[in-house]
Point group: D2
Chain length 377, copies 4
């Protein structure tokens, strides 16, 4: 694996490296860790990468690695830069025959996302998007139960993603993560909703298997002087008559990273919280609620395939994130051996999820600009 | 106290009786417990009421009691009938000089509510509306903390009221509580939102001290053949720029009675759940969340005035309900003695909260009929 | 009902009054609320009791009431004084034909308890002991499930009762509740263990239906200058090979009133906490834990008979306490009518539970004095 | 790193590999993964290890690696075999100049443990014992707060470790993990208490900084035909008068891996649960309990040094385990560079913790054999 971005001081780059390393299936062999060649090389040394494979730019990395022998060169490019620097390296990687793992949102604009989708289709290469929250075992379990009809026809979905870290204007204080996320030239058309609202959308559609058809979005910028939304409340209408609520916030003081979802069907209900991810509450009509837990009892094959250790040994964010990398590795290994991959491992977000996310963000902004009017998605 | 409704088999009548009895300040001395005189008398015997004070109708009760000596006759009429039978006894009670405690929503129509409001104003009598959830000590605490500025300027409010008991058409099976609540001739213009959405509205405005100015409501009837909404999702805009979400449901399978609220200000956040009512989570920026608990530490005088027993001895729904009755009793006693009541006890929902609730319900229905458009409140 | 003790400023007296009033089955008609006749009369007025039935002493109350007509005089004496003043009024009440409800522990000494037990046997009168925690619906449910064999043969019991309010020497600051509880001339041979450890013992034996056969108790007085234990850790051996742990504390800083129990059998496990009393966790081998809740689904008749309101409307400490009074009332009413009481209502702690508790306390002290040696019970 | 044990089908071997890989500081370069050379080689291929470094025995591995150039050969031996096969490879590794990471308990007998301790002292090599639960950030926080005096003088400790997976005789069904743990020739003198009770002891002494001085242990074998204890209840007396309770169980049906601890001091209390490891409850006298969370607010340097990602992104078992490996790596790197390691990273369990654990297990067995008598430790 080669990495674009993620040098010293970055947050998500480290997450990708740990996620890729965890299962021993992927080795970080090269990288263009910074647009500054000096910084890139310094970072490479931190990661025990040979100096000759610490590149000054993603273009240099892709061109050089391409010429290396097949058993030496990287197989996959991991892109962990801010949003506005996803498209170029992803495009070039695909055009040069490398698989891609890309942080979300997939691109800066919808048009770019569609172009990448077309490229993936043409090349047949793997493109994984790290909507990592779908990697949790209990999210897999929820999806499987809904697919199997265990909770009946879905009526209502409530998905929330409150955070509080941007409740004040910390982007002015040099907080790097805050700075680019609140900058429309780096983050895109939306702030909070693009950054985390899109995770909520992805989670809701992934678990329920239903598409949002209409939405009504009331976005707000609460912090004075900020240029992008830092909070959003959205009414949803899914295909088939399911109704929903999605809200996300970065000004909800005291909230950490509380992505959570509740789904109610004609037979039962499901509730999952990212901050206690190994628990799935399963609710029934006139019967006690059940506490499904990672590793306990007869779970779905989908859940079990994404858990590593016995019940009661909590698996967390990095393990869920690692499930994407491990699944990508298994898919690549299968291709190299000319085998079919076990379908349980073929499950990770793709470029099409990225296109969907960009459409969603665009429609949120459109609805909001119309005074929180209903728009079709 | 005399009671209208609440005979054998009723639910909320029993609640009112227990709530009135708990603190030993109010004695149930008479009642018109049923529109059927036989049933009314039989019920009276269950409650150890003298046969001569078991009346066949509320009119008979009010007329007869009025003629009794002052120290014998009832002081207050408690109205616990279905919604469409609130107005007439309330009006007559007020017109004959009796204080009123009335179940919510206050009336069947907004016009009736306004008429009662006018009567209360003219007579100066006490009219308490049992939006009982505002009676919890930790709700008082939340209100006091916001009023004192402890969490700063309010930015966002999320209030939810999910239930699951009407997820199937149990009104067809003879379930009495379900039958009248889903019948537009008894319940009013809205089902779920009138029954419980109005509690959520009352709680949000009570705690924050802010008025809802605009709303956008997407109401749904999920159960086939039902005539009123059984679910509703609402975007809110409060005065001063505060944004909000309110959703209520009676088809959220597996949910019991999970009224809850989260409020986020510029300095902190608050979270309260009716099903664990003695806990108030208080959230801070970059500091640990605090678990405020009924009876622990230095709470507000408002909270302490509405709690009876030491910390860790859980007080519940009936105690919160009883706070309304006790406060009404203290107010009446003060009047009888010609004293001012302690302002801590003058705090209970009134006919004006009832008018507000009827306006809210009307606007929800109007918004929904316009395709979930924004309407001003 | 007539009351002994519980005048102005008392804690448990108010609890007994509210508990007795809640269900409208018992009326407080007289009392000897204080050993000071002036204070007794003043308190009586607070409770709307006729001045002529405000007595200066329990002896006066019992003698005078006995002479009143049957339909006027009290039926039952409620004793809510400190421990050392339980025996005399209880004895006199029984000797004069009155039923008794008595706070726990039943007496100051084991000998007194046994004398009362004998008197109850001889008179056939009702003697209820307010080990109130057994009154919770979910405690009834736990007992029923164990009795029905649902969790198999019991192997292990863990019962805890931590409080923190005596972590400093507040008895020196005039705190009345602390003062008598830490005074060996009023409280008895043990402090913490007598006050709350005995609740834990009662709960464990009640739920499991098993008797403790041996114990090993390490009691401690952590606060300098205090004369009685304020903490105790106990190993238990029950009949049939069940093992257990019981610990109670009044110096566990930050704990409110956290009585809780876990029971493990060959088939399943149960977990209940007094501070969230409407939840019973039911644990299974290789299957999801279930959250049993008051009022949800098909509970045992025992649980349902001790709950008043629908699921999700939390019932608390006073409701559980009231279950004892209501059951006593139903038993007395049945006797008066010459009927058999429904066995569901014949379930409340009796003088024999009191004797058991006194034996338990005695053995704890004996074990501790022997250096925490094993002693038979 | 070279590994002893942990071939295909093993549990803890995989955990060690993931823990070692997570932070990119340690590379698995060789191993003797099985006593069966064929199996060892097959396993090595799974882990992408060169065939020539897949050894048939630990002795072969140590001898061969020793001869490799310094920059090629392994630095550290990771021992993940069952308990009775810890001593020999650990001894040989130390004697040949390799650092050791060893699973717990350190050895089969106390004598072996002491011999290793002596060897470590003589060689100056690093010996880390994977009492992994001390690696959690909130455990570090708890230890730091106690050390800093924030909760005052410790009075009471309650540490529990319930599991339910051995509630039936699954060792007869071919469950490999159960088989050796219940076999006295492989596990040692104790079953449950050796396997998990020793974790509880280690956690309690680590967090409080206090040594257990006396104990009274009631161990039980509940499952018929099993040869070692599967449950144990223990009273503790620490130095300085602190009292405690420790209980562990493998027959507590429905419990997963619920290690938890409560510590009460004169000023405050702490509560931590392994199954929700990013939360530390901090309790105060007459003030609200605080929810300390990994990554939130101003935590101790010790906590922050053992956390990788922002608040609300749950870190779990593998991350805590990885903290041991990362700290070992940092210590080795510092030695190689001739630098002092940052003391924050010098914190991991050592061979001396292993000796302590073996003493503890021995005393538990001794106490139990004497009828649960008090013995000094």
């Amino acid at each position: 694996m080669g990495m674009v971005g993620g040098g010293r001081g970055a947050f998500i780059g480290g997450v990708h490296r740990m996620a890729a390393a965890l299962d021993g299936q992927i080795e970080l062999v090269c990288g263009a860790f910074s647009s500054n060649p000096e910084k890139s090389k310094a970072s490479a040394a931190d990661f025990f990468i040979a100096p000759e494979r610490a590149y000054g730019s993603f273009a240099e990395m892709i061109e050089t690695e391409k010429k290396l022998p097949e058993d030496v060169r990287m197989d996959v490019v991991s892109i962990v830069t801010p949003n506005h620097v996803h498209f170029a390296p992803a495009k070039m990687a695909l055009e040069n025959g490398f698989h891609v793992v890309c942080d979300k949102p997939v691109t800066f604009t919808l048009a770019e996302a569609k172009e990448l989708e077309k490229l993936v289709e043409e090349t047949g290469l793997i493109f994984a998007l790290t909507h990592n929250y779908t990697g949790y075992p209990m999210v897999k379990q929820a999806k499987a139960m809904i697919k199997n009809g265990e909770i009946g026809t879905i009526r209502k979905v409530v998905v929330e993603y409150p955070q509080g870290w941007l409740a004040t204007k910390i982007e002015d204080s040099g907080q790097k993560q805050a700075a680019w996320r609140t900058d429309p030239t780096k983050s895109g058309a939306s702030g909070c909703m693009g950054d985390i609202g899109s995770h909520a959308e992805n989670l809701a559609e992934y678990i329920t298997g239903l598409k949002i058809k209409e939405l009504c979005a009331d976005l707000t910028t609460f912090v004075n002087g900020r240029l992008l939304d830092d909070d959003g409340n959205v009414l949803l209408r899914f295909e088939g008559g399911t109704k929903g609520i999605l809200h996300a916030s970065q000004i909800s003081v005291g909230e950490e990273n509380d992505l959570n979802i509740r789904v109610y069907g004609t037979k039962g209900g499901l509730q999952w919280r990212q901050m206690e991810p190994n628990t799935l509450l399963v609710k029934w009509m006139d019967k006690p609620t059940q506490i499904y837990r990672t590793g306990v009892g007869e779970l779905s094959p989908e859940a079990n395939a994404h858990s590593r250790i016995p019940a009661g040994h909590p698996e967390g964010y990095l393990e869920a994130f690692a499930n994407i990398y491990r699944n990508v590795a298994f898919c690549i290994q299968a291709r190299l051996k000319g085998e079919e991959v076990n379908p349980l491992y073929a499950d990770f977000p793709t470029v099409s999820d990225g296109v969907r996310g960009m459409e969603f963000i665009g429609k949120l902004v459109e609805s909001n600009e119309k005074g929180a009017a209903w728009v079709a998605l």
